[in-house]
């Protein structure tokens, strides 16, 4: 009896030890993963002459908001924030609207070519986007839309729309159609039934798909480089890159800009983590 109890206690102790190791490993992992982020923050708060000093120190010797001041005092940079927010928001709304319509058709009706449409949507997510740059560049020049924010809103749909359709479709499939049919029996039109029952019920899918779409649009770089030329129409990723190309040594402004560019996404993530992770996983598993 005593030996059995002892063995049990040993097992408990071993389990506790393994758990302690798990905590330790995770904390170490978090520290390592945060090194680049802390370095970004640290450099954004120090004067430029301190950036190149050897050996580098983790904490700035002189604490300064100079980098942030450079961003906030320049209307050009503020415009870039506005442009990015505008483009991302429009892309998100259009993708959700068109995506929900297509998803409804795919989830609720049986029609010839359904399989083909589904396959097409999945394949589009695999497209090499750099291939599209060449024709987009030529097409938007001939349409007179080169170097406009409109062109970005249009081309971002290439990768956001298929994702929204697939994610919303898989959510709609899990919602019984009786709910809409009951509303239609009660005298709603089909559209009325959709807006009164299906859309409110599937709000988590809309938030998840919307946030992920917004993130993709906010962080996009390649199309922006190819299609935008003037400063007035630039978006964040591109402005940060040109800051690096133009003023190689203005590190505190660049890091301040990077912090400010990432902050909105991090804030949204803190509050809506659940939906965002849902969007992230759904992007991969469209089933």
């Amino acid at each position: 009896m005593q030996t059995v109890l002892m063995g049990h206690l040993g097992l408990r102790r071993r389990e506790r030890l393994i758990n302690a190791v798990a905590y330790l490993c995770l904390i170490v992992a978090i520290v390592i993963v945060f090194i680049p982020l802390l370095w970004m923050l640290s450099v954004s708060f120090r004067p430029n002459i301190e950036v190149m000093r050897m050996p580098p120190t983790w904490l700035p010797e002189v604490f300064t908001l100079e980098g942030y001041a450079k961003i906030f005092s320049n209307p050009r940079y503020l415009l870039v924030f506005f442009n990015t927010a505008l483009v991302s928001l429009l892309v998100t709304l259009i993708s959700l609207f068109l995506g929900a319509m297509a998803a409804y058709a795919l989830a609720r009706f049986k029609f010839a070519g359904q399989r083909t449409v589904l396959m097409f949507l999945i394949t589009t997510q695999m497209f090499p986007l750099v291939l599209l740059c060449i024709p987009y560049f030529r097409i938007f020049i001939s349409l007179g839309l080169y170097d406009t924010r409109t062109s970005l809103v249009i081309v971002y749909l290439t990768f956001t729309l298929p994702f929204c359709v697939l994610m919303l479709r898989s959510y709609f499939l899990n919602i019984p159609r009786d709910i809409e049919e009951a509303a239609m029996v009660d005298g709603c039109s089909r559209l009325g039934a959709i807006f009164r029952t299906l859309v409110p019920i599937s709000y988590p899918a809309f938030i998840g798909a919307g946030l992920y779409t917004f993130l993709l649009a906010w962080n996009e770089f390649l199309f922006a480089v190819v299609l935008i030329e003037s400063w007035e129409n630039r978006v964040l990723t591109m402005a940060i890159y040109s800051l690096m190309a133009e003023f190689v040594t203005d590190w505190n402004a660049m890091m301040a800009f990077s912090v400010l560019a990432s902050l909105p996404l991090v804030m949204v993530f803190i509050f809506l983590q659940r939906y965002m992770v849902q969007g992230m996983t759904a992007g991969a598993l469209t089933s």
Partner: protein, 297 residues
């Protein structure tokens, strides 16, 4: 019979009326440009004129050592990124799946996802700063005595370290995707499997090999395929961090196509390269699409 036919027809009309805007947008944005690239790959073209050259671009491409260099570097970049994503993602997912305090678990998961929220451009910039000769990486390495502080390494300026440095950044930024997906996969494994195994006296290592890995196989295959595709076509990390240099030591297909098209204005040649890239991705995608379609039926 007639009624059934009418009903079916009605469904098709309804379906199409909901579907056409999205399909029209996507066909316009994908199929027409693809056809344009196919056509262009048979021409010599800058913005002013187009001259038919048949397979000329493709022949030139296969004889171009630079193309092969960027092709193989893309393969190496992809292979190392995906492998490290998987190893790190799996390790962290396993740790997060252990019996932890729920608040700590949620916090740790949230913190570890943060790099994935950053734009590749922003992440690339931070790493450029860290990897510079005066950067913190050299600082940390010299403080533990791994390198001599007076001979700081220019990680991105050296042909032997440039591609590896870009890969490191890419691993750091994108591992959370694997971690989240694998954690979801781990949480879906029935607990009874482990209980039964530990009654039979299986060690933790045995349980990992014979329960965890087989149960995760489907998730792993899917995310490895997806990540391979995404990394193979990646443009931002290389373009921002090295611009493909020095001396093309970190050139990948996406940046090579960009430079040929938009700097040298050789749109035909760039299109031919893009077609090769498209075909490679198409083959890998075929596997992914088949899996996704089966899951969707």
């Amino acid at each position: 019979m007639l009624l059934a036919l009418k009903r079916r027809y009605r469904e098709e009309v309804l379906a199409i009326s909901f579907l056409w805007p999205a399909l029209l947008v996507l066909c316009g944005l994908l199929l027409y440009p693809l056809a344009d690239v196919v056509r262009l790959s048979f021409y010599e073209s800058n913005l002013q004129k187009e001259v038919w050259v048949g397979f000329g671009n493709y022949i030139a491409l296969f004889n171009d050592p630079l193309f092969w260099k960027s092709f193989w570097q893309t393969v190496v970049f992809t292979a190392f990124s995906v492998a490290l994503h998987l190893v790190i993602g799996l390790a962290l997912a396993l740790l997060l799946n252990m019996r932890l305090d729920p608040v700590f678990r949620a916090l740790a998961r949230g913190l570890l996802i943060v790099p994935w929220l950053l734009a590749p451009t922003v992440a690339g910039m931070i790493w450029v700063l860290m990897l510079a000769p005066f950067g913190i990486i050299n600082g940390m390495l010299s403080s533990v005595g791994l390198i001599d502080a007076n001979f700081a390494v220019s990680w991105l300026g050296d042909t032997s370290t440039a591609l590896g440095s870009v890969t490191a950044m890419n691993v750091w930024r994108a591992f959370p995707f694997f971690m989240v997906m694998l954690l979801a996969g781990l949480q879906a494994i029935p607990k009874q499997l482990y209980e039964a195994a530990s009654i039979d006296g299986a060690t933790l290592w045995h349980q990992f090999w014979h329960i965890t890995l087989p149960q995760l196989r489907s998730v792993i295959t899917t995310i490895v395929l997806l990540d391979s595709i995404w990394t193979f076509r990646a443009f931002d990390p290389v373009f921002v961090m090295t611009g493909g240099g020095p001396a093309h030591a970190s050139e990948v297909l996406a940046t090579a196509i960009y430079f040929d098209g938009f700097q040298k204005l050789r749109f035909g040649y760039a299109s031919a390269q893009a077609m090769v890239m498209f075909l490679v991705l198409f083959i890998v995608s075929a596997f992914y699409v088949r899996r996704a379609m089966n899951a969707n039926q």
